[in-house]
Structure formats: structure tokens, C-alpha cells
Symmetry: C2
Subunit: 189 residues, 2 copies
DNA sequence: TTGCTATTAGTACCTAGTCATAATTCAAAT
DNA sequence: ATTTGAATTATGACTAGGTACTAATAGCAA
């Protein structure tokens, strides 16, 4: 079953999207055409060569790894008063939701809130000791969650941080985090 | 400051680890030696060529993306009795810990426990409504955390799951998760 | 048969290498 | 001072997976 140009190019796109590491030669075999035809197709569809595609995937991954270790807060911090309050925004994308239901996975809401609680503490080291959390409304793919952290109690070694997360005006998550700091690091988070 | 062979090879390794997309030519310039020397070094250190390195990073990333969307549990499930109990193992690597202190970030422990609590529920849909969690000991890079989930209460719409996570015999995390299921999905997790 | 698109072929060139051999440099030991 | 051996550099042939360009051929409709 030989395909016409249009169909072949259609299939070519999805094939390359699914298996980006495929070479022109392999594609030529797959579609029963010459290598030159595949190259013309890629030219028309503006699909780069296999080595560029591989590199693209790798660079993306590498950047992701880098930014994760540099910026240790999950979400974008838009306000930060050390030992007082902080606000971060996280947009829930495909990677944050259950693929079937498109509902956000709880640990991402937790991660946003928890890392904000860590960030608000004005100390070299802050670790979560305890947390009491409520998920009050589903978050769906595409929604932007605004997390607001407030320091509610500050002891010598422990700080209690309250975090409320909203979509628009609606509360979607709230949690009380008991944080340990600096010297007294028997516990973790 | 020209380096001797040993020091150069030492630096070469860390350079390539940090910037794996560097070519032999760039490395030769960086170290003030010929390309051939770099190639001999790579041969001795068993470091593959740049295109292989790029591919390696890309393949890793690609596999990760695939497995994340297929298998939605964080960690490896090694036992699962639906509506009864489940066990998963997660090895804490560099990406799970604070880069400075090498101590595990709390939300990864939470994610392992929470996703196991979701998995143990024998229903189409299970979402976390509430959770009460304690971090009882730090987890360090390289440690393997075994999470054990037990269903402790099963109501019509809610199921309570208790999860305890251990490194060896030591309790590092424990949490009570109140899960909603199926029809009654007003809340989320 | 002409005209047009699609396809295939062929050539020169490119990058970033491998593999093998040979030549050169340098420093330490005799 | 010379020799020896390791380290370094050079050279040439070859590879994969391409780009860029030109030219030839195939298929089909007006």
C-alpha cells in the first residue's frame, strides 16, 4: 500500500514525533521510497535531521535538570518576605495531571506548597517535620495555582507556616507545615 | 598552566559530566592540547564520542517521559493487593535531594507515599482529600526508601490509607491519607 | 504531445568522529 | 650527553548521516 505524498508526509510527522531517533534510511525503508524523497519531505515539513532532533531532546532534558537543581522552588516565586510571607504561581500542565482524568496529582500541589514553605524560612536550612494538608477542590489541566505562604508561629527551632493555594478565588489546597531549621536537624523534609 | 596527563584526564571527566555536549575540538582548545590527545584520553577513560553522549541523554529523557505517562506510580511497585496493601521502592538520587545538603526533599517522599495510596485503591478513580504526614528521619542521597501502604478503613466513598516509609528498618516517613473514590469526586489529590 | 509534479539519482561537501601507523617531543635515568 | 619510554602530535583512510545542488526520469492529466 503505497501512500501519496500528502499522506506520507502526514505519517512521517507522527512517526518522527513518536520515534525521533529514526534515520532517513530507516524512514525510506518504512515508506518504500528513496532516501531523497524522505529528505525532500523533511525539507518541506521543516523537520531537522536526526542528529539535531536527538540534540534537541537532550538539551531540553539537560536544561530541565539544571533548572531543577538551581531553582529549588517548584513554581515561580513572585513575592518573598523572609520569615513572613511568600507567593508562588504554578501552571498545571500535562505532566502534572492524571493522563486519563486531567485532574492534578496531589503531590504537585503539595510540592508547590512545601517548597514555598521551605523558601520563606530565613535560615540556611529548613526541613519539613510535620504537615497537615487538605485538598479542597480539584485542579484541572491548564489552571494556574497561586500558593500563599504565611509564617504563623516562630519558635527557636520550629517555624509553623500556613499555605493556602487558590485557583482564581477558590481555595484548592491548604496546609500547615511545621518546619525545623538549622541546628536542630533531626528531622527531614 | 598546562596540566599533566593525570590532572587533565581528571578535569576532562568533570568537564564532560557538566557539559556533555562539548566536542573534542572544543576540549582540545580548552586544555591547550591537540584533538588527538583528547581522543586518546577519551579512549583511556572509556568516554564515548559527543554524538553518543548526546544520544544517551536524549534516550534517557525519552524513556523517562514514556514511563512516567504509562506508569503513574512514583517508585517501583513490588507488591499490590488491591484495597488491602501495597509496597513500593524508590531510590533517592541526585534529582531528589537538595543539592547543597544532599538531604531528600519532602515532596518526593510524599509523592511516593501518595501515589502508592492512590494505586492501592481498587476503583477507577481515587483522589486524596486529606493527609496527615510526619517526616521522622532525614533521607540522604543514595538511600532506598520502602513505602508500605495499608488500607485501614473503608467507607462507601472514603478509604483511609496509612503509609509508612522506611530506610532499612528505620521509619523515615508516615502519613494517613483520606482518599475519595469514584462518584463522590468533589475533592482532589 | 506537452506540461507539471513527484520521485529518484548523482556529485561535492560537511561534521565529528574511528582506527591504525608513524613521527616528534620531553623528561628522567644511565 | 645520550638513551629510553611515555606522552603527544600528525597523517591518512574510512564512517554515518547528513546538506545543497543539479539533473534525469516517471506518472498522469489536459
Amino acid at each position: 500500500m503505497k501512500l501519496n505524498k500528502k499522506d506520507r508526509q502526514q505519517m512521517l510527522q507522527t512517526t518522527i514525533r513518536n520515534t525521533p531517533f529514526i534515520t532517513d534510511e530507516e524512514l525510506a525503508n518504512k515508506f518504500g521510497v528513496s532516501i531523497q524523497t524522505i529528505r525532500l519531505d523533511r525539507l518541506e515539513l521543516k523537520i531537522p535531521e536526526v542528529r539535531e532532533r536527538i540534540k534537541h531532546v537532550a538539551v531540553q532534558h539537560f536544561d530541565q535538570v539544571k533548572s531543577l537543581s538551581i531553582d529549588e522552588v517548584i513554581g515561580e516565586v513572585i513575592d518573598l518576605q523572609l520569615d513572613q510571607s511568600a507567593i508562588s504561581i504554578l501552571e498545571f500542565k500535562r505532566e502534572h495531571v492524571f493522563s486519563r482524568t486531567k485532574i492534578a496529582r496531589g503531590h504537585h500541589l503539595f510540592a508547590q506548597a512545601n517548597s514555598l514553605a521551605v523558601a520563606v524560612i530565613d535560615d540556611e536550612l529548613a526541613l519539613t517535620a510535620k504537615a497537615n494538608i487538605r485538598f479542597t477542590r480539584q485542579v484541572k489541566e491548564g489552571e494556574r495555582v497561586v500558593a500563599k505562604a504565611n509564617v504563623v508561629k516562630k519558635g527557636k527551632f520550629r517555624t509553623t507556616v500556613e499555605v493556602n493555594s487558590y485557583v482564581e478565588k477558590e481555595l484548592v489546597f491548604s496546609g500547615d507545615f511545621v518546619m525545623y531549621r538549622k541546628e536542630d536537624v533531626q528531622r527531614e523534609g
